[in-house]
Every structure is written in structure tokens, then in C-alpha cells.
Symmetry: C2
Subunit: 245 residues, 2 copies
DNA sequence: ACAGGTTGGTTAACACTGTTTACTCGACCG
DNA sequence: CGGTCGAGTAAACAGTGTTAACCAACCTGT
């Protein structure tokens, strides 16, 4: 059995090297440089050999996307590990800052998973991002919600046209939390709160994408300050005004 | 002279056809399909002939970016033309909705000009978007500001760390307005207002990018409703609560 | 222990791509 | 009319994704 295991491990090993090299090419020379022949060249093999691992180049970069998501998740968790488990607000802030920092440090990867046009019905592609770390966001958000110290928006704040979708969203959030072993009293996650969480994601994503893609309409001497200002705004909407300088 | 003109017109003509075909390939088959040989094939010429017009493929798609911006601007102006010049709030709303509608209808083009990673010092590439229609947004926003009927945020609302950048931003906005022939009393565009305008752009861009790239964490039965909700939130921040349903 | 299949890999080839070079051929100009 | 210029072409080079045929190890079943 050790033979079979060893062989599998060898295969898994080169598989890892393939994606690792692909990743290196992506970050160093941009997406158009991640080419089968270049990857093979770095590994000392020939291009067709890669077809033993991936059915096409597109298949490879799809798996690359998953890799990137996992690495981002690991990166965020690593940053989170340095914050006390009960410092809920600090955890939320480091998570948001970690997301921004990672995105700015890895623009190609960010563009690959967060800014690639995707067909509206390709549910598989759409779920890749939120599966791996949307969950992380949700969990730390739930933990701060669970303290019950926040001033949450009433359900009446959500526009009537959104009521249907927000109830579905709320249910999905609660399901994901239960699945993650976080028990949040459902009454602490009302429709207004779900709506606010969605708005938070919109603004966080928007601010980060804006910076990564250089669409801020002015060169900022201190880009972090702008980010911190939206962060303060977001936490303020939850009644958290801790330490606005 | 008519000969020279005719020759130039012939050249300009094929130039237009080149970009037109490139555009068609982009929208139909994605960015990787916009290839020199395919363009030439459609035009009935050979690929090297394109080098009489553009020094490289990259050069061509750079001009394509400019084309897209111009088309977007024209599209927005067209939509704006159908709204009374003094219906300032309605103009702002149609502008925002027009931007979203265009982006959802032209995801490839949107990705090309609004979501392509760009070096932070490439001022040329960064300014391409804001030059062509950031001005449009600014002008209609200024017109509604000029009415003086809004409740604008005090300068004290902008975080101290942003004061420097916001004064520069405010100056740039005023300069652009003067250049566009819109005279807005400077006291109606304070630092707080500049900051709020920037936040509006962040949220508008973020919401649109989120939808275009399928990063909304739930399938919405009515995506417009979500957009309208942030729109209502934005106008609400200016004290405009006209017609929230 | 040996035949047989599986598996990771190679080589050769096809149809593409961007780009350069050398060359036409026709329209313009003096 | 001779000369120049410029749009376009043909040929070529290097590099791409992908497929087909083949090869040499290895694992397995008898």
C-alpha cells in the first residue's frame, strides 16, 4: 500500500508544483504569462504532460482560482489569530484590513477571482469566492452580533422590494452559521441586519476594488486613511464608535 | 486637397472598421478573442496591415479602451437628454442607473476599462476613465449642488487624516467644473461635500462591479431593487428623499 | 515470476497567435 | 514622365494550446 500511497504522493507533489509555478508566473508577469509551456519549462517537463493533471488551460486556472481563495482564507485566518478571540470589534477590523492589504499586494489574484466577468447562471463560478471566505466574514460578524451590544437597524429600514430576497439571504446566513458551529440567536439577525451586512460587503468590496484597479479619482497621499474612513462609517452604522481618532 | 482628404478619410474609415471589429469580437467572444488576425480576417486584409494603424496589439486595445469610454459617455449623455434640464435629482438618478445598465449590458467592456489591474504610477491609464465621464458625473452633481436645496455634511465630518487629500480633491473638482463651464459657488462644495461625493463614487462603482462580476452573495430575484436601495441611501445622505417608495 | 494494463512522460504535429522583414503595387507629386 | 510614399501582402520566426502516437516504467492478477 505504501507504493500506491507514495505514487499518489508523487503525483500530488507535482500537482502542487504545477499550481505553485502557475501562481508565480501570475504574480510576477501577469495572467497572460501563465502559459502551459512556461509552467512545464519551470518544472523541467514538457507541456503535454500537464494534460495528465488538467484537462485544459482553463481547467488549470480554475483550480488556480480555488488555490487563491484558500490562500486568501489562510492569510486572513493568520491575521485573525493574532487578535484576542473576545476582541470582536478588533477582529472585524483586522479582517477588513487584511482583505484590503491582501488585495493590494496581490492585484492579479484579486482580479482573477473577484473581477472576472462570469455568466449570471454559472453558479459554480459565482460561489467560489463566498464559499471559501465569505464564511470567515460571516463568522466574525456573527460573533460580534452575538454580544448583543450593537444598535441594529430595524427591519422596517429595508426597502419593501428587497424583503423577499433579504429573508432568503437571512435564512442562508443562519444556515451557514449553524453549519459553522456558531450559534447566533436568530432574533439578533433580523432583516435589517442582513441588509446592513450586505451593504457592508458591497462597500468593502467596492472600496478595495476601486483601489486595486486605480479608479480612485485622485492620487491619495494616504490611501489607508480613505479606507479607514469607510471602515469607521461601517462600524458606526452598527453603533460601534470605538476609537475614531 | 480633396484627394488628400479622401485618402485620409479612407484611412480613418478602415481605422474605424478595425476598432469596430475589435469591439465586436470583444463583446461576442471575450477579450481573448480580440486577436489581430481575427480582426484582419473580418476586414478582408492580412494581420501585418494592422501595424500601419497601431504599433502593437496592446496599443490597439488601449485605443479600444478610449473608444469604450467615449461610447459610455455618449450613452450616458443620450439617456440624460431625455430628462428635463432642471430635474436635477432625476438627472442624477438616470445617470447612476445608466451607468449600471451599461455595465451589466457590456461586462467585457466594463472589465476592460474599470477592472484591469494597473500600475499605481501609470497616471495615463488611471485617468482614462475619469477623464471621459467622471466629468459627466461631476457636472450633473454640481448642478444639483448649485440649487442650494441640499443638506450638506459639515467639513468636520471628514476624518483629519483625509483633510489634506480632500482639499486637493475639492480643488481639482472646482477646476474641472470651471473648465466645463459650470459655475458653482465654491462655498457649496465644502470638504465634507467633496468627501461625500467620493463616497458616492465608491459605492456606485462598488455596487456595479459587484453585480457585473457576480459577487453578490445571493442570487437576487430583483437585482435592481438592491441597486435602488443604495441609490436611495446615497440621495438620502444629501437630504434628498424624493419619492422613496 | 511473468503477462497485461495503467500511468506519467515524451516527441511530432496541427492550427493558431503577435511581430518583423522584404516585397509589391498603386496613387500622389514635382 | 520619373520618383516617392504608403497601404497592403507574403514569408518567416518564435511562441501558444491541444491532440495523437508512442515509450518506459510501474502496479496488479494470476
Amino acid at each position: 500500500m505504501t507504493q500506491a500511497t507514495r505514487r499518489d504522493r508523487g503525483r500530488a507533489e507535482t500537482d502542487r508544483e504545477i499550481r505553485q509555478q502557475a501562481r508565480a508566473l501570475l504574480v510576477n508577469d501577469g495572467p497572460q504569462a501563465v502559459t502551459l509551456r512556461a509552467i512545464a519549462r519551470e518544472l523541467g517537463i514538457t507541456a503535454p504532460a500537464l494534460y495528465r493533471y488538467y484537462s485544459s488551460r482553463e481547467d488549470l486556472i480554475h483550480h488556480l482560482r480555488l488555490d487563491v481563495c484558500n490562500d486568501l482564507a489562510a492569510d486572513l485566518e493568520r491575521g485573525l489569530a493574532e487578535v484576542a478571540a473576545d476582541a470582536h470589534l478588533a477582529r472585524v477590523l483586522t479582517l477588513c484590513r487584511g482583505f484590503r492589504t491582501w488585495a493590494l499586494a496581490h492585484p492579479q489574484e484579486f482580479a482573477l477571482v473577484f473581477a472576472t466577468p462570469v455568466a449570471h447562471d454559472d453558479e459554480d463560478a459565482r460561489s467560489v469566492a463566498r464559499g471559501s471566505f465569505g464564511r470567515i466574514f460571516l463568522v466574525v460578524a456573527a460573533r460580534v452580533l452575538a454580544t448583543g451590544t450593537l444598535s441594529l437597524p430595524a427591519d422596517s429600514t429595508v426597502p419593501v422590494a428587497l424583503l423577499g430576497d433579504m429573508t432568503a439571504f437571512r435564512a442562508e446566513l443562519l444556515a451557514m452559521l449553524a453549519e459553522s458551529g456558531v450559534d447566533l440567536p436568530p432574533e439578533l439577525l433580523g432583516l435589517g441586519t442582513a441588509h446592513l451586512l450586505l451593504q457592508c460587503w458591497v462597500r468593502l468590496y467596492g472600496q478595495v476594488a476601486l483601489e486595486v484597479f486605480g479608479q480612485v479619482p485622485i492620487v491619495m497621499t494616504d490611501p489607508e486613511a480613505l479606507f479607514e474612513s469607510v471602515l469607521a462609517d461601517l462600524t458606526g452604522q452598527f453603533g460601534l464608535t470605538a476609537g475614531r481618532p
